[in-house]
């Protein structure tokens, strides 16, 4: 994010356009429609710096993990109030973490909270959490656990009372159209926020979003397609907010022909021109990579990322060797423009190596349901908006990788390698465990990461001081209008 060059001024209203509708019901899960606003209404115990990956305190003043890694003491700030005016206490933290673990919350990182033995509130501002086993990814949970108000949580569903502790109050939700945030005047830092209010307008069409941005109706747009972003790359009036992002993997079902043969799966790795996907589908903004892990995160091996280069000859040879030439490959694709475009390149590549791909385009709702059920057929192109989670978390939260994945892949060795990653409690241990796992996954090739694209947010220079979290949730607490 660009350095603040001017002096912040109080007042003003901005409009942000987003392509997906807000989902106040799901404030504890990562949702495209919530990312732009949720972190302005809610705060979390800790917040990770997206550039340095350093965990910084937010609602927690400090914390301490026991030497055996099985418990954690947390001290909270004492000046935090909910928008209702009530003081936040350790009970609220306990409620938040327990809610995260409920299945109906459907939080991606909820599985981490399930590993808690107990949460003991020791005073209004202190609490102790006990774990069943050492939790390397505890901060992934904290990062997502937006602290909620126990008293009003039930009323969040229809947007009538969405109460948090952040610098902005949730004022109004017009489903499918917009949400309004207003300045929370009793925020603990009296100078913040600078803005009076923010409108998040839902403009589902990416092109329309762009024209709203151009016309100055909105100062920021999220959820734009990469093609639309490209237009702004060389325009100094706009800047990109790069963090978080989306992984697009090609998954295959290892129990179904021809992908029950490892050679064929590996052939796919060599067959696909990831660079072209990045250039043509994403305008060169993304990163072609064979790995699922966040680029530059601990254990991200640069060589491993290029394990499979584009080598159709080799791929063809592999397919021939496996005797799979001419095999029909139905590929399930969700009806999302990027996935459809990726499919077109993939099918072109697969034809080159002697396979016979065909598209099965599914409506998103249908696709999602089958993804949850792990029932997507022999091959499929997925979309996961989880870039930014730690590797340990991704292993359980990414449907491509978790147990019950649509690839139908699971082995003892895989389980062991995964456990090693989860259990690693030092950077070096993590690095080693992740690389070992990566090697294994690249060899098995049950799910091939194709490209990772950054959060698709663009910001006009009329507004300054906007920040983003690791997972490209926007922070307007310190934003102000340029004169």
């Amino acid at each position: 994010v660009r350095a603040d060059d001017g002096k912040p001024v109080r007042g003003g209203t901005i409009t942000v356009s987003q392509t997906a509708d807000a989902q106040p019901r799901n404030i504890l899960t990562l949702r495209a429609g919530n990312s732009p606003w949720v972190k302005n209404v809610f705060e979390t115990l800790t917040q990770t710096d997206p550039e340095t990956f350093e965990v910084k305190p937010l609602l927690a003043k400090s914390w301490k993990v026991a030497a055996d890694g099985l418990s954690m003491d947390i001290v909270l700030r004492d000046d935090v109030t909910f928008h209702t005016g009530r003081k936040m206490t350790a009970e609220d933290i306990k409620f938040t973490l327990e809610t995260m673990a409920l299945p109906e919350t459907a939080a991606q990182v909820g599985f981490i909270a399930k590993e808690f033995q107990s949460i003991d509130v020791t005073s209004a501002t202190t609490l102790t959490i006990k774990f069943k086993k050492p939790l390397a990814n505890i901060f992934d949970l904290f990062e997502e656990a937006n602290v909620i108000d126990k008293e009003t949580y039930a009323k969040r569903e229809d947007g009538s009372q969405v109460i948090g502790t952040g610098p902005f109050k949730f004022a109004k939700w017009s489903p499918g159209a917009s949400i309004m945030l207003e300045r929370y005047d009793s925020y603990r830092d009296k100078s913040l926020p600078y803005l009076d209010s923010i409108e998040f307008a839902v403009i589902t069409d990416s092109t329309a979003s762009v024209s709203a941005l151009r016309s100055g109706r909105s100062v920021m747009a999220t959820g734009l397609s990469q093609n639309d972003l490209v237009e702004f790359t060389n325009n100094p009036q706009y800047q990109f907010v790069n963090s978080g992002g989306t992984i697009f993997p090609l998954g295959v079902n290892v129990t179904k022909a021809p992908f029950d043969k490892k050679e064929v799966r590996q052939a796919l790795g060599y067959a696909i021109d990831r660079q072209r996907i990045n250039d043509q589908v994403f305008g060169g903004i993304g990163v072609p990579t064979d790995l699922f892990w966040g680029v530059g995160s601990p254990g991200y091996g640069k060589d491993q990322a290029l394990h499979y280069g584009y080598d159709p000859k080799k791929a063809k040879a592999l397919v021939e060797k496996a005797g799979a030439t001419g095999a029909k490959v139905p590929i399930v694709v969700p009806s999302i423009p990027a996935n459809r475009s990726i499919f077109e390149i993939v099918q072109n590549n697969l034809k080159e190596i002697g396979l016979a791909p065909e598209a099965v385009v599914l409506d998103v709702a249908d696709f999602d349901k089958r993804q949850v059920a792990g029932d997507l057929g022999p091959a499929f192109i997925l979309i996961h908006g989880q870039v930014g989670f730690s590797t340990a978390t991704l292993l359980s939260s990414l449907p491509s990788l978790r147990q019950g994945n649509p690839s139908g892949f699971w082995s003892d060795q895989y389980a062991t390698l995964r456990n090693a990653v989860t259990a690693a409690n030092s950077p070096e241990a993590t690095d080693k465990a992740v690389k070992a796992l990566s090697d294994y996954m690249l060899d098995e090739a049950f799910s091939l990461s194709l490209v990772q694209t950054p959060g698709q947010t663009i910001l006009s220079d009329t507004v300054k001081g906007v920040k983003a979290t690791l997972r490209s949730q926007m922070l307007f607490g310190q934003a102000y209008l340029a004169e």
Binding site: D21, R31, G110, T204, F367
Partner: protein
């Protein structure tokens, strides 16, 4: 009048019942699950099951249908799965946008349609007439979404004069609201106007062959008066039937137009509820649309009767 409505009642009721069944069954036949929209594609199967339970989606289809109808008869449209709000509130919050769009489009359609229709029925000059015909045919052959795209290319990108996306309530700011409204309404109205124009021209030309036009001419009635008092009034019937039919299509066309011009109207609500499998919203919208279509048809019958003293509604 009352007998007219009483006579129509059984068929209206039948249409309503049948469309309620279709509106209920059709979306549910599609694979997918409203719970997934809520729980997210990353959810695990257990999480999904928990959400389904919470939404009450585990009853049998009969139960769900009769439950819905029962509540409907008591004025309760239910609650959206995706947005957790009463369907009625959701719909009424989107109503203004669509009504403004459809109403302006209707007005434009009538104005443009009548102007073109009367012109092409009166013009004597063969070349101008042929030119008008070509314009009309092109309008007819260009569906709203193409007109919309072309207008965006022209007035939004090549010559950025009017805003091409978003909206503003007319009640909040009439001037700005109109600026936002004019392009989509125009795109929506143009092809339909061409239909109206064509029908009107045909009707005028066929009325022109009637004896009473000859009699009027023999009276010495000048052309302007002939058009107003004799030709037009007798040609309105087919034009009104067309307008009635087209008004229904305006609503349908609004779906694509709203998508293109980023307006948050009922069309967008319908599309998003299809995507989210938000059955209750979708059902209400479909049923509403069918009833509106029926209503428009009745209205046009009444208007025709009002215009033509020969038709009496009691009959």
């Amino acid at each position: 009048m009352l007998t007219f409505f009483l006579k129509k009642l059984p068929s209206v009721v039948m249409v309503a019942i049948a469309s309620s069944v279709i509106a209920f069954v059709l979306p549910r036949l599609a694979p997918g699950d409203p719970a997934v929209a809520l729980a997210g594609s990353d959810a695990s199967p257990e999480q999904l099951a928990a959400v389904r339970d919470q939404l009450g989606l585990n009853g049998s289809l009969y139960e769900q249908y009769f439950h819905w109808i029962w509540n409907l008869l008591h004025g309760d449209l239910g609650r959206s799965f995706a947005m957790r709000r009463p369907v009625a509130t959701l719909i009424s919050s989107r109503l203004e946008s669509t009504i403004e769009l459809a109403a302006l489009a209707l007005v434009l359609m009538i104005i443009i349609g009548f102007t073109l229709g009367i012109l092409s029925a009166t013009l004597r000059n063969q070349t101008t007439k042929a030119a008008l015909d070509v314009v009309n045919t092109i309008c007819l052959a260009t569906p709203p979404f193409l007109t919309g795209l072309l207008l965006i290319l022209l007035l939004g990108i090549a010559f950025p004069i009017l805003p091409v996306s978003g909206e503003m309530g007319l009640l909040r700011d009439p001037v700005k609201g109109l600026q936002y409204l004019i392009l989509p309404a125009f795109a929506l109205a143009l092809p339909q106007a061409a239909v109206v124009a064509r029908l009107l021209a045909t009707a005028i030309n066929s009325v022109r062959g009637e004896d009473f036009i000859d009699l009027a001419k023999a009276k010495g009635v000048p052309p302007g008066r002939l058009m107003r008092r004799h030709l037009l009034r007798n040609s309105l019937g087919p034009a009104i039937v067309a307008i009635g039919l087209r008004a229904g299509e305006l609503l349908g066309g609004a779906i694509v137009i709203e998508a293109i011009f980023a307006r948050n109207g009922l069309g967008q609500l319908a599309v998003s509820s299809v995507q989210n499998r938000d059955y209750l919203v979708l059902q209400a919208l479909i049923l509403g649309a069918v009833l509106i279509a029926v209503l428009i048809q009745l209205l046009s019958e009444i208007t025709i009767a009002a215009l033509d003293p020969r038709i009496r509604l009691e009959g």
